[in-house]
């Protein structure tokens, strides 16, 4: 293919594409490079920043674990079974991608709010969502579960059903077939879905800001500082967050890459 390259169309396409890449890369690079490392270090030492970042990482991880338990079985069913309403279920799984996150926050508040049925039920066992860590987890789960379910479903779809059938004829029950054949073969896709979901959870702002402004997660802290003190105070926090996200993203890419090889 290499030689097909030397034509003018490819050059034009490369120019157009380069502008888009530049548009994505420059603001991020600029933010990261224009911050003084010592200021970033100092920012990292602030208790408020540290606890916000830790809360973000932890809440997103918790949301991912919850999604793993409920989402992987769902993904398997969507990949293997044929049932009425399957299209609808697939649609519902992807809805959170297109619902504005502030609207998602309102919707969650209506169901999990203090005065709602569920809110009161959970209140009895001492679990409250509004302005509390569980609310953050709920918000992150809502907006990012699609990524895990879709990725796991693709992973299961890539497993040849004949492998499962052969396993059955070799004496494996459905349960053994799932754990010894389907799950190990889909594992990379599931893992990359989990990392993507976690990264997407970290970056959530709109739904969390409505459901649980406090305790503050990093994106909310960033917004707070920007609103209260302006760009210069928000920048070190932004840099920190971008760096953390880029690192997880690189890890994700490396896993996906190994998968291809």
């Amino acid at each position: 293919m290499r030689k097909l390259f030397t034509n003018r169309m490819y050059v034009l396409f490369a120019l157009l594409g380069a502008l888009l890449i530049f548009f994505v890369a420059w603001p991020l690079l600029r933010t990261v490079t224009s911050s003084d490392p010592t200021i970033i270090w100092e920012t990292l030492l602030e208790a408020e920043v540290r606890s916000a970042i830790l809360l973000t990482l932890y809440s997103s991880a918790l949301a991912t674990v919850v999604a793993f338990f409920f989402g992987v079985p769902l993904a398997y069913l969507l990949a293997r079974a044929d049932f009425p309403g399957k299209r609808l279920i697939e649609g519902i799984v992807d809805v959170p991608i297109v619902v504005p996150h502030s609207a998602a926050g309102i919707a969650l508040l209506m169901v999990f709010g203090r005065r709602s049925l569920l809110g009161r039920a959970f209140g009895l066992i001492g679990l409250k969502f509004v302005s509390a860590a569980p609310g953050i987890v709920i918000a992150m789960l809502f907006v990012s579960l699609s990524f895990l379910v879709d990725s796991a479903r693709e992973g299961f779809e890539a497993v040849n059903p004949r492998l499962e059938r052969v396993a059955r004829t070799l004496g494996a029950s459905p349960w053994q077939t799932f754990w010894r054949v389907s799950f190990p073969l889909a594992w990379r896709s599931i893992l990359s879905g989990m990392i993507l979901m976690w990264a997407r959870g970290l970056s959530e702002f709109g739904a969390v800001v409505i459901l649980a402004y406090h305790p503050m997660i990093a994106p909310v802290l960033l917004y707070e500082r920007f609103e209260s003190y302006g760009l210069d105070y928000a920048r070190p926090v932004a840099t920190l967050i971008i760096l953390i996200c880029l690192m997880t993203f690189v890890a994700l890419r490396l896993i996906a890459q190994e998968d291809r090889a």
């Binding site: 004949r162 059938r165 052969v166 059955r168 004829t169 070799l170 494996a172 053994q176 010894r180």
Partner: protein, 379 residues
Amino acid sequence: MKSSGAVQIRDLWVDLREFHLREIDLDIAAGEYFVVLGPTGAGKTGLLETIAGLYQPQRGRVLLDGEEITHLRPERRGIGFVYQAYALFPHLNVAENIAFGLNIQRPSGLGKLIRRKSAQENEVDIAEQVDEVSRMLAIDHLLHRSPKTLSGGEQQRVALARALVIKPRVLLLDEPLSALDPETRESLQRELARVHRQLGTTTLHVTHDFEEAVALGDRIAVVNQGRIVQVGTPEDIFRRPASEFVARFVGVRNIFAGAIAEETDENGTGAKTFIFEASKTVEDQALKMAVVTDLTGAVQASIRPEDIILSREPIHSSARNCFRGHVMEIADRGTLIYVTVNAPPDFTCVITRRSREEMRLREGAAVHLAFKASAVHIF
């Protein structure tokens, strides 16, 4: 290591998106090598998957050694399955693939902890069984390789070993040779025959390749569009196809429509004659040939190309049917050469490359044809 069961299938109907099976009745004896032959898309894979319990039939029963297994779960049937495209577990190495079925049957988890010693013994036992079957199939040097590094033939041997190691009562082979190149196909075909001789496992082998079916099958069932159209020995199917579909499928080229007439010859013995339909227009010259049959009326006749003797000189032989004609077409197939001769009906004969050179056969040449009355199959 002998273990084989008889399979009976009674009035089986299966309806699925990809295929439909209708009124399937089969009796496969214990230890038999039974081949199901049919074109692609005839539902052959579906038949095997139904026997293995992977699909539930709409109607009908499957019996193994007289015991009904129609609704038994696949993992309880003890039926080995080999798919056309190998279907090896890519995350396990060859030894682990072969041992899969044995490991499943081993107590796991808690049971393993409690009976630790017996579990160890078990593992040694499994390793021995894997060794034995892989030596038998000459793949013992591949045990630590990953399936994707193997050639097609090696992969299919592993798949076979994996199915055999659980000592199935029945072995189902779904086009096991179709994905292989001709040379490997031939050697694995020989292997299948040897393994069957050695173990005597009842085998149900599905294929679309007639030569494969003839080479391996004790008996053959021909299926078309989800129905069984003929069951018999290879010789039966080859010599006495029950329908035009079977005849064409097994490579009979000379199929003629016509009618049977009875004639009495000078000695007073009755003989049957086949009158070609195509020749009816030329009233006075009705083309006919001597045949041996019990049928009467409108029938079809077929003659296998290799049963026709082709010669440049008039043929004086015991063959009852002699025709004179012109070579219409010579189709060179490497080792074999197909010659179409217009007598007026077109007969296709097959000769070797050497015969062609010796006869100096060219298109348009006048030739003589001869074949025995018994070589004509009437159906």
